[in-house]
Symmetry: C2
Subunit: 203 residues, 2 copies
DNA sequence: CTCGCTCTCTTACGGTGTAAGAACGTATCT
DNA sequence: AGATACGTTCTTACACCGTAAGAGAGCGAG
Protein backbone atom coordinates (compact mmCIF):
# COMPACT_ATOMS: atom_id res chain seq x y z
CA UNK A 1 0.00 0.00 0.00
CA UNK A 2 2.44 2.58 -1.23
CA UNK A 3 1.79 6.24 -0.63
CA UNK A 4 0.85 7.66 -3.98
CA UNK A 5 1.82 11.24 -3.24
CA UNK A 6 -1.61 12.48 -4.17
CA UNK A 7 -3.13 15.88 -3.61
CA UNK A 8 -6.17 17.78 -4.75
CA UNK A 9 -4.01 19.51 -7.32
CA UNK A 10 -2.48 16.36 -8.73
CA UNK A 11 -5.90 14.78 -8.98
CA UNK A 12 -7.29 17.78 -10.83
CA UNK A 13 -4.28 17.72 -13.12
CA UNK A 14 -5.03 14.15 -14.07
CA UNK A 15 -8.73 14.86 -14.40
CA UNK A 16 -8.11 17.75 -16.75
CA UNK A 17 -5.78 15.66 -18.84
CA UNK A 18 -8.35 12.90 -18.97
CA UNK A 19 -11.13 15.25 -19.99
CA UNK A 20 -9.00 16.92 -22.63
CA UNK A 21 -8.13 13.55 -24.05
CA UNK A 22 -11.40 11.64 -23.87
CA UNK A 23 -14.13 14.11 -23.03
CA UNK A 24 -16.05 14.78 -19.89
CA UNK A 25 -18.21 11.69 -20.33
CA UNK A 26 -15.12 9.53 -19.83
CA UNK A 27 -14.39 11.04 -16.46
CA UNK A 28 -15.35 8.58 -13.77
CA UNK A 29 -13.90 8.21 -10.33
CA UNK A 30 -12.65 4.71 -11.07
CA UNK A 31 -11.11 5.75 -14.34
CA UNK A 32 -9.50 8.78 -12.73
CA UNK A 33 -8.14 6.61 -9.97
CA UNK A 34 -6.67 4.19 -12.47
CA UNK A 35 -4.99 7.09 -14.21
CA UNK A 36 -3.27 7.86 -10.93
CA UNK A 37 -2.52 4.28 -9.99
CA UNK A 38 -4.98 4.28 -7.17
CA UNK A 39 -8.40 2.93 -6.28
CA UNK A 40 -11.42 5.15 -6.83
CA UNK A 41 -12.25 5.57 -3.18
CA UNK A 42 -8.85 6.99 -2.46
CA UNK A 43 -9.84 10.15 -4.28
CA UNK A 44 -12.53 10.76 -1.71
CA UNK A 45 -9.87 11.53 0.83
CA UNK A 46 -9.01 14.66 -1.14
CA UNK A 47 -12.34 15.62 -2.66
CA UNK A 48 -15.79 15.17 -1.15
CA UNK A 49 -17.45 13.92 -4.33
CA UNK A 50 -17.37 13.98 -8.08
CA UNK A 51 -19.04 17.35 -8.32
CA UNK A 52 -16.09 18.78 -6.47
CA UNK A 53 -13.84 17.41 -9.19
CA UNK A 54 -15.94 19.07 -11.86
CA UNK A 55 -16.06 22.34 -9.96
CA UNK A 56 -12.31 22.18 -9.59
CA UNK A 57 -11.89 21.72 -13.31
CA UNK A 58 -14.14 24.64 -14.14
CA UNK A 59 -12.27 26.78 -11.67
CA UNK A 60 -8.98 25.82 -13.18
CA UNK A 61 -10.10 26.49 -16.73
CA UNK A 62 -11.28 29.96 -15.80
CA UNK A 63 -8.37 30.79 -13.53
CA UNK A 64 -6.47 32.74 -16.15
CA UNK A 65 -9.39 34.85 -17.31
CA UNK A 66 -9.06 38.36 -15.99
CA UNK A 67 -9.92 41.85 -17.07
CA UNK A 68 -7.64 44.88 -17.30
CA UNK A 69 -9.86 47.94 -17.53
CA UNK A 70 -7.48 50.46 -19.03
CA UNK A 71 -8.14 52.76 -21.94
CA UNK A 72 -11.43 52.91 -23.88
CA UNK A 73 -13.89 50.48 -22.36
CA UNK A 74 -14.89 48.95 -25.65
CA UNK A 75 -11.33 47.95 -26.23
CA UNK A 76 -10.68 46.21 -22.95
CA UNK A 77 -14.13 44.66 -23.08
CA UNK A 78 -13.25 43.19 -26.46
CA UNK A 79 -9.92 41.99 -25.11
CA UNK A 80 -11.69 40.35 -22.21
CA UNK A 81 -14.02 38.51 -24.56
CA UNK A 82 -11.13 37.35 -26.68
CA UNK A 83 -9.18 36.00 -23.72
CA UNK A 84 -12.30 34.41 -22.32
CA UNK A 85 -12.86 32.64 -25.61
CA UNK A 86 -9.28 31.45 -25.67
CA UNK A 87 -9.63 30.01 -22.18
CA UNK A 88 -12.77 28.13 -23.17
CA UNK A 89 -11.23 26.80 -26.35
CA UNK A 90 -8.19 25.58 -24.48
CA UNK A 91 -10.34 22.87 -22.89
CA UNK A 92 -13.28 22.20 -25.18
CA UNK A 93 -14.16 19.09 -23.25
CA UNK A 94 -15.14 21.27 -20.32
CA UNK A 95 -17.57 23.37 -22.30
CA UNK A 96 -20.68 21.45 -21.32
CA UNK A 97 -19.74 22.09 -17.71
CA UNK A 98 -18.75 25.71 -18.15
CA UNK A 99 -21.96 26.47 -19.94
CA UNK A 100 -24.21 25.21 -17.19
CA UNK A 101 -22.41 26.36 -14.05
CA UNK A 102 -22.91 29.95 -12.97
CA UNK A 103 -19.94 32.10 -12.10
CA UNK A 104 -19.69 32.00 -8.35
CA UNK A 105 -16.03 31.51 -7.52
CA UNK A 106 -14.37 34.28 -5.52
CA UNK A 107 -12.02 35.01 -8.39
CA UNK A 108 -14.88 35.22 -10.84
CA UNK A 109 -16.81 37.59 -8.64
CA UNK A 110 -13.77 39.78 -8.23
CA UNK A 111 -13.28 39.99 -11.98
CA UNK A 112 -16.91 40.95 -12.36
CA UNK A 113 -16.62 43.62 -9.71
CA UNK A 114 -13.55 45.16 -11.29
CA UNK A 115 -15.11 45.30 -14.72
CA UNK A 116 -18.40 46.61 -13.38
CA UNK A 117 -16.65 49.35 -11.44
CA UNK A 118 -14.83 50.49 -14.55
CA UNK A 119 -18.05 50.53 -16.56
CA UNK A 120 -19.82 52.61 -13.95
CA UNK A 121 -17.12 55.23 -14.39
CA UNK A 122 -18.00 55.22 -18.08
CA UNK A 123 -21.53 56.24 -17.34
CA UNK A 124 -23.29 52.88 -16.97
CA UNK A 125 -25.53 52.32 -14.01
CA UNK A 126 -24.48 49.40 -11.79
CA UNK A 127 -27.31 47.32 -13.20
CA UNK A 128 -26.41 48.20 -16.76
CA UNK A 129 -22.78 47.43 -16.06
CA UNK A 130 -23.64 43.93 -14.93
CA UNK A 131 -25.88 43.50 -17.93
CA UNK A 132 -22.98 44.33 -20.17
CA UNK A 133 -20.70 41.89 -18.41
CA UNK A 134 -23.22 39.08 -18.35
CA UNK A 135 -24.04 39.74 -21.96
CA UNK A 136 -20.41 39.56 -22.98
CA UNK A 137 -19.76 36.41 -20.99
CA UNK A 138 -22.82 34.56 -22.22
CA UNK A 139 -22.16 35.77 -25.72
CA UNK A 140 -18.71 34.22 -25.64
CA UNK A 141 -20.04 30.99 -24.19
CA UNK A 142 -22.68 30.79 -26.86
CA UNK A 143 -20.20 31.44 -29.63
CA UNK A 144 -17.72 28.89 -28.40
CA UNK A 145 -20.46 26.32 -27.93
CA UNK A 146 -21.33 26.70 -31.58
CA UNK A 147 -17.69 26.58 -32.49
CA UNK A 148 -16.40 23.62 -30.53
CA UNK A 149 -19.90 22.39 -29.99
CA UNK A 150 -20.87 18.85 -30.63
CA UNK A 151 -21.57 16.84 -27.54
CA UNK A 152 -19.40 15.76 -24.61
CA UNK A 153 -16.97 13.42 -26.25
CA UNK A 154 -15.94 15.76 -29.09
CA UNK A 155 -16.10 12.55 -31.10
CA UNK A 156 -17.48 12.35 -34.59
CA UNK A 157 -15.28 14.50 -36.84
CA UNK A 158 -18.09 15.34 -39.21
CA UNK A 159 -20.86 13.01 -40.28
CA UNK A 160 -21.76 15.67 -42.84
CA UNK A 161 -25.42 16.33 -42.23
CA UNK A 162 -27.27 15.97 -45.50
CA UNK A 163 -27.13 19.47 -46.92
CA UNK A 164 -28.88 19.14 -50.22
CA UNK A 165 -27.92 22.08 -52.46
CA UNK A 166 -31.32 21.87 -54.12
CA UNK A 167 -33.12 22.18 -50.85
CA UNK A 168 -30.68 24.53 -49.13
CA UNK A 169 -28.89 26.57 -51.78
CA UNK A 170 -27.71 29.40 -49.55
CA UNK A 171 -26.51 27.05 -46.87
CA UNK A 172 -24.68 24.92 -49.41
CA UNK A 173 -22.99 27.93 -50.95
CA UNK A 174 -21.79 29.17 -47.59
CA UNK A 175 -20.45 25.75 -46.71
CA UNK A 176 -18.60 25.62 -50.00
CA UNK A 177 -17.09 29.01 -49.17
CA UNK A 178 -15.44 27.56 -46.11
CA UNK A 179 -18.08 27.89 -43.42
CA UNK A 180 -17.17 25.88 -40.38
CA UNK A 181 -13.43 25.96 -40.89
CA UNK A 182 -11.27 27.20 -38.00
CA UNK A 183 -10.56 30.54 -39.61
CA UNK A 184 -14.24 30.98 -40.20
CA UNK A 185 -14.97 30.58 -36.52
CA UNK A 186 -12.47 33.25 -35.69
CA UNK A 187 -14.01 35.51 -38.32
CA UNK A 188 -17.49 35.05 -37.05
CA UNK A 189 -16.40 35.68 -33.51
CA UNK A 190 -14.75 39.01 -34.13
CA UNK A 191 -17.53 39.97 -36.53
CA UNK A 192 -20.20 39.32 -33.95
CA UNK A 193 -18.18 40.68 -31.06
CA UNK A 194 -17.66 43.95 -32.89
CA UNK A 195 -21.35 44.14 -33.59
CA UNK A 196 -22.24 43.54 -29.99
CA UNK A 197 -19.73 45.88 -28.41
CA UNK A 198 -20.61 48.60 -30.87
CA UNK A 199 -24.23 48.33 -29.92
CA UNK A 200 -23.66 48.42 -26.18
CA UNK A 201 -23.88 51.83 -24.60
CA UNK A 202 -25.10 53.50 -21.42
CA UNK A 203 -28.63 54.85 -21.53
CA UNK B 1 -49.28 -8.34 -19.80
CA UNK B 2 -51.69 -5.63 -20.79
CA UNK B 3 -51.00 -3.53 -23.86
CA UNK B 4 -50.01 -0.14 -22.58
CA UNK B 5 -50.97 1.81 -25.68
CA UNK B 6 -47.54 3.30 -25.97
CA UNK B 7 -46.05 5.21 -28.86
CA UNK B 8 -42.99 7.30 -29.51
CA UNK B 9 -45.10 10.38 -28.96
CA UNK B 10 -46.58 9.27 -25.67
CA UNK B 11 -43.15 8.33 -24.41
CA UNK B 12 -41.73 11.70 -25.35
CA UNK B 13 -44.69 13.38 -23.69
CA UNK B 14 -43.91 11.61 -20.45
CA UNK B 15 -40.20 12.27 -20.79
CA UNK B 16 -40.77 15.97 -21.27
CA UNK B 17 -43.04 16.09 -18.29
CA UNK B 18 -40.48 14.26 -16.23
CA UNK B 19 -37.67 16.57 -17.29
CA UNK B 20 -39.76 19.67 -16.67
CA UNK B 21 -40.59 18.40 -13.22
CA UNK B 22 -37.31 16.89 -12.00
CA UNK B 23 -34.60 17.96 -14.40
CA UNK B 24 -32.76 16.09 -17.08
CA UNK B 25 -30.59 14.29 -14.55
CA UNK B 26 -33.67 12.49 -13.27
CA UNK B 27 -34.50 11.09 -16.68
CA UNK B 28 -33.59 7.43 -16.76
CA UNK B 29 -35.11 4.70 -18.83
CA UNK B 30 -36.30 2.84 -15.75
CA UNK B 31 -37.80 5.94 -14.26
CA UNK B 32 -39.43 6.88 -17.52
CA UNK B 33 -40.86 3.41 -17.81
CA UNK B 34 -42.27 3.58 -14.32
CA UNK B 35 -43.94 6.86 -15.21
CA UNK B 36 -45.73 5.03 -18.01
CA UNK B 37 -46.50 1.91 -16.02
CA UNK B 38 -44.09 -0.18 -18.01
CA UNK B 39 -40.67 -1.81 -17.67
CA UNK B 40 -37.66 0.07 -18.96
CA UNK B 41 -36.89 -2.29 -21.79
CA UNK B 42 -40.32 -1.80 -23.27
CA UNK B 43 -39.30 1.67 -24.33
CA UNK B 44 -36.68 0.18 -26.59
CA UNK B 45 -39.39 -1.08 -28.85
CA UNK B 46 -40.21 2.51 -29.77
CA UNK B 47 -36.84 4.20 -29.47
CA UNK B 48 -33.43 2.73 -30.21
CA UNK B 49 -31.70 4.17 -27.15
CA UNK B 50 -31.69 6.94 -24.61
CA UNK B 51 -30.02 9.41 -26.93
CA UNK B 52 -33.00 9.08 -29.21
CA UNK B 53 -35.18 10.16 -26.33
CA UNK B 54 -33.03 13.20 -25.72
CA UNK B 55 -32.96 14.05 -29.41
CA UNK B 56 -36.71 13.73 -29.49
CA UNK B 57 -37.07 16.12 -26.59
CA UNK B 58 -34.80 18.69 -28.21
CA UNK B 59 -36.74 18.39 -31.42
CA UNK B 60 -39.97 18.88 -29.64
CA UNK B 61 -38.78 21.91 -27.72
CA UNK B 62 -37.62 23.58 -30.90
CA UNK B 63 -40.56 22.54 -33.02
CA UNK B 64 -42.36 25.83 -32.67
CA UNK B 65 -39.41 28.03 -33.45
CA UNK B 66 -39.72 29.44 -36.93
CA UNK B 67 -38.79 32.58 -38.75
CA UNK B 68 -41.03 34.84 -40.85
CA UNK B 69 -38.79 37.04 -42.94
CA UNK B 70 -41.12 39.89 -43.77
CA UNK B 71 -40.39 43.56 -43.47
CA UNK B 72 -37.12 45.05 -42.24
CA UNK B 73 -34.70 42.25 -41.50
CA UNK B 74 -33.67 43.63 -38.13
CA UNK B 75 -37.25 43.39 -37.02
CA UNK B 76 -37.96 39.83 -37.97
CA UNK B 77 -34.51 38.81 -36.72
CA UNK B 78 -35.37 40.30 -33.36
CA UNK B 79 -38.72 38.54 -33.39
CA UNK B 80 -37.00 35.28 -34.15
CA UNK B 81 -34.66 35.73 -31.21
CA UNK B 82 -37.55 36.54 -28.91
CA UNK B 83 -39.54 33.47 -29.93
CA UNK B 84 -36.44 31.32 -29.70
CA UNK B 85 -35.85 32.52 -26.18
CA UNK B 86 -39.46 31.80 -25.26
CA UNK B 87 -39.14 28.27 -26.58
CA UNK B 88 -36.02 27.67 -24.53
CA UNK B 89 -37.51 29.12 -21.38
CA UNK B 90 -40.59 26.95 -21.75
CA UNK B 91 -38.46 23.92 -20.87
CA UNK B 92 -35.49 25.09 -18.86
CA UNK B 93 -34.62 21.54 -17.91
CA UNK B 94 -33.69 20.87 -21.50
CA UNK B 95 -31.21 23.72 -21.70
CA UNK B 96 -28.14 21.64 -20.98
CA UNK B 97 -29.12 19.47 -23.90
CA UNK B 98 -30.08 22.28 -26.24
CA UNK B 99 -26.86 24.07 -25.59
CA UNK B 100 -24.63 21.19 -26.54
CA UNK B 101 -26.43 19.71 -29.53
CA UNK B 102 -25.92 21.35 -32.89
CA UNK B 103 -28.91 22.20 -35.07
CA UNK B 104 -29.22 19.34 -37.48
CA UNK B 105 -32.87 18.46 -37.67
CA UNK B 106 -34.54 18.89 -41.05
CA UNK B 107 -36.83 21.53 -39.66
CA UNK B 108 -33.95 23.42 -38.14
CA UNK B 109 -32.01 23.39 -41.36
CA UNK B 110 -35.02 24.62 -43.26
CA UNK B 111 -35.49 27.52 -40.87
CA UNK B 112 -31.84 28.39 -41.29
CA UNK B 113 -32.13 28.26 -45.05
CA UNK B 114 -35.15 30.52 -45.12
CA UNK B 115 -33.57 33.11 -42.88
CA UNK B 116 -30.27 32.96 -44.75
CA UNK B 117 -32.00 33.44 -48.07
CA UNK B 118 -33.79 36.52 -46.80
CA UNK B 119 -30.57 37.97 -45.45
CA UNK B 120 -28.78 37.43 -48.74
CA UNK B 121 -31.44 39.57 -50.37
CA UNK B 122 -30.56 42.26 -47.85
CA UNK B 123 -27.00 42.37 -49.11
CA UNK B 124 -25.30 39.82 -46.88
CA UNK B 125 -23.06 37.23 -48.46
CA UNK B 126 -24.16 33.63 -47.82
CA UNK B 127 -21.33 33.22 -45.33
CA UNK B 128 -22.22 36.45 -43.57
CA UNK B 129 -25.85 35.43 -43.50
CA UNK B 130 -25.03 32.23 -41.69
CA UNK B 131 -22.77 34.13 -39.35
CA UNK B 132 -25.67 36.36 -38.43
CA UNK B 133 -27.97 33.42 -37.84
CA UNK B 134 -25.47 31.45 -35.80
CA UNK B 135 -24.64 34.54 -33.83
CA UNK B 136 -28.26 35.21 -33.03
CA UNK B 137 -28.96 31.62 -32.07
CA UNK B 138 -25.91 31.23 -29.87
CA UNK B 139 -26.55 34.62 -28.39
CA UNK B 140 -30.00 33.56 -27.31
CA UNK B 141 -28.71 30.29 -25.94
CA UNK B 142 -26.06 32.07 -23.96
CA UNK B 143 -28.52 34.57 -22.56
CA UNK B 144 -31.01 31.95 -21.54
CA UNK B 145 -28.31 29.83 -19.97
CA UNK B 146 -27.41 32.78 -17.77
CA UNK B 147 -31.05 33.40 -17.06
CA UNK B 148 -32.36 29.96 -16.23
CA UNK B 149 -28.88 28.68 -15.63
CA UNK B 150 -27.91 26.73 -12.59
CA UNK B 151 -27.34 23.10 -13.24
CA UNK B 152 -29.58 20.30 -14.47
CA UNK B 153 -32.03 19.93 -11.65
CA UNK B 154 -33.00 23.64 -11.42
CA UNK B 155 -32.85 22.90 -7.71
CA UNK B 156 -31.53 25.29 -5.11
CA UNK B 157 -33.64 28.43 -5.23
CA UNK B 158 -30.80 30.71 -4.23
CA UNK B 159 -28.04 29.87 -1.80
CA UNK B 160 -27.11 33.55 -2.00
CA UNK B 161 -23.45 33.51 -2.89
CA UNK B 162 -21.59 35.64 -0.40
CA UNK B 163 -21.67 39.08 -2.00
CA UNK B 164 -19.91 41.24 0.51
CA UNK B 165 -20.84 44.89 -0.15
CA UNK B 166 -17.45 45.95 1.14
CA UNK B 167 -15.64 43.73 -1.31
CA UNK B 168 -18.06 44.09 -4.21
CA UNK B 169 -19.82 47.45 -3.91
CA UNK B 170 -20.98 47.74 -7.50
CA UNK B 171 -22.22 44.19 -7.61
CA UNK B 172 -24.06 44.65 -4.33
CA UNK B 173 -25.70 47.83 -5.50
CA UNK B 174 -26.90 46.23 -8.70
CA UNK B 175 -28.29 43.28 -6.76
CA UNK B 176 -30.13 45.64 -4.45
CA UNK B 177 -31.61 47.33 -7.50
CA UNK B 178 -33.27 44.10 -8.53
CA UNK B 179 -30.65 42.32 -10.59
CA UNK B 180 -31.58 38.75 -11.15
CA UNK B 181 -35.31 39.20 -10.89
CA UNK B 182 -37.48 37.94 -13.77
CA UNK B 183 -38.11 41.41 -15.14
CA UNK B 184 -34.43 42.08 -15.06
CA UNK B 185 -33.72 39.10 -17.26
CA UNK B 186 -36.19 40.34 -19.79
CA UNK B 187 -34.63 43.79 -19.66
CA UNK B 188 -31.15 42.51 -20.18
CA UNK B 189 -32.26 40.35 -23.04
CA UNK B 190 -33.87 43.09 -25.06
CA UNK B 191 -31.06 45.47 -24.14
CA UNK B 192 -28.41 43.10 -25.40
CA UNK B 193 -30.44 41.93 -28.36
CA UNK B 194 -30.92 45.49 -29.52
CA UNK B 195 -27.22 46.12 -29.18
CA UNK B 196 -26.35 43.03 -31.17
CA UNK B 197 -28.86 43.49 -33.97
CA UNK B 198 -27.93 47.14 -34.29
CA UNK B 199 -24.31 46.22 -34.75
CA UNK B 200 -24.90 43.55 -37.34
CA UNK B 201 -24.68 44.69 -40.93
CA UNK B 202 -23.48 43.48 -44.31
CA UNK B 203 -19.93 44.44 -45.22
C1' DC C 1 -56.71 -24.60 -33.42
C1' DT C 2 -52.61 -22.80 -34.83
C1' DC C 3 -49.63 -19.79 -36.84
C1' DG C 4 -47.40 -15.44 -36.80
C1' DC C 5 -46.96 -10.79 -35.42
C1' DT C 6 -46.78 -7.12 -32.10
C1' DC C 7 -45.76 -5.85 -27.89
C1' DT C 8 -43.98 -6.51 -23.06
C1' DC C 9 -41.21 -8.64 -19.68
C1' DT C 10 -37.15 -11.19 -17.42
C1' DT C 11 -32.59 -11.80 -16.84
C1' DA C 12 -27.99 -10.47 -17.16
C1' DC C 13 -23.62 -7.71 -17.80
C1' DG C 14 -20.61 -4.18 -17.02
C1' DG C 15 -20.61 0.31 -15.78
C1' DT C 16 -21.57 4.41 -12.31
C1' DG C 17 -21.12 7.34 -7.49
C1' DT C 18 -20.17 6.69 -2.89
C1' DA C 19 -21.05 5.02 2.34
C1' DA C 20 -18.67 2.35 5.90
C1' DG C 21 -15.02 0.63 7.78
C1' DA C 22 -10.86 -2.37 7.71
C1' DA C 23 -5.89 -2.46 6.99
C1' DC C 24 -1.54 -0.71 5.97
C1' DG C 25 2.90 2.49 6.49
C1' DT C 26 5.04 5.78 8.86
C1' DA C 27 6.13 9.05 12.69
C1' DT C 28 6.24 9.89 17.31
C1' DC C 29 6.48 8.82 22.17
C1' DT C 30 7.71 6.02 25.98
C1' DA D 1 12.66 -1.69 20.94
C1' DG D 2 7.87 -1.63 21.42
C1' DA D 3 3.46 0.59 21.50
C1' DT D 4 0.42 4.02 19.94
C1' DA D 5 -1.55 7.24 16.90
C1' DC D 6 -2.38 9.16 12.53
C1' DG D 7 -2.63 9.80 7.67
C1' DT D 8 -3.54 7.37 3.66
C1' DT D 9 -5.22 3.64 0.91
C1' DC D 10 -8.00 -0.36 -0.05
C1' DT D 11 -12.11 -3.70 0.27
C1' DT D 12 -16.62 -4.53 0.29
C1' DA D 13 -21.20 -3.31 -0.53
C1' DC D 14 -25.46 -0.97 -2.29
C1' DA D 15 -28.42 1.12 -5.39
C1' DC D 16 -28.59 2.89 -9.65
C1' DC D 17 -27.56 3.30 -14.75
C1' DG D 18 -28.00 1.89 -20.22
C1' DT D 19 -28.98 -1.90 -22.86
C1' DA D 20 -28.14 -6.83 -25.26
C1' DA D 21 -30.58 -11.14 -25.73
C1' DG D 22 -34.25 -13.68 -25.71
C1' DA D 23 -38.50 -15.59 -23.52
C1' DG D 24 -43.38 -15.02 -23.08
C1' DA D 25 -48.10 -12.98 -23.49
C1' DG D 26 -51.81 -11.44 -26.08
C1' DC D 27 -54.14 -11.01 -30.35
C1' DG D 28 -55.94 -11.24 -35.24
C1' DA D 29 -55.88 -14.04 -39.50
C1' DG D 30 -55.97 -18.39 -41.88
Amino acid sequence: MRRAGLSRERILDAALELVDRDGVAALSMRRLGKELGVEAMTLYYYLPNKDAVLDGLVDRALAGVTVRPEGPWREWARAFAVSFRAALLAHPGLLPLLATRPVSTPGGLLTVEIAAGALVEEGFSPTEALHVITTLATFVIGQVLAEAGRTPGHDQPDPEPPVDPARHPVLAEALAAGLGTPGDHEDRFVYALDALVTGLAPR
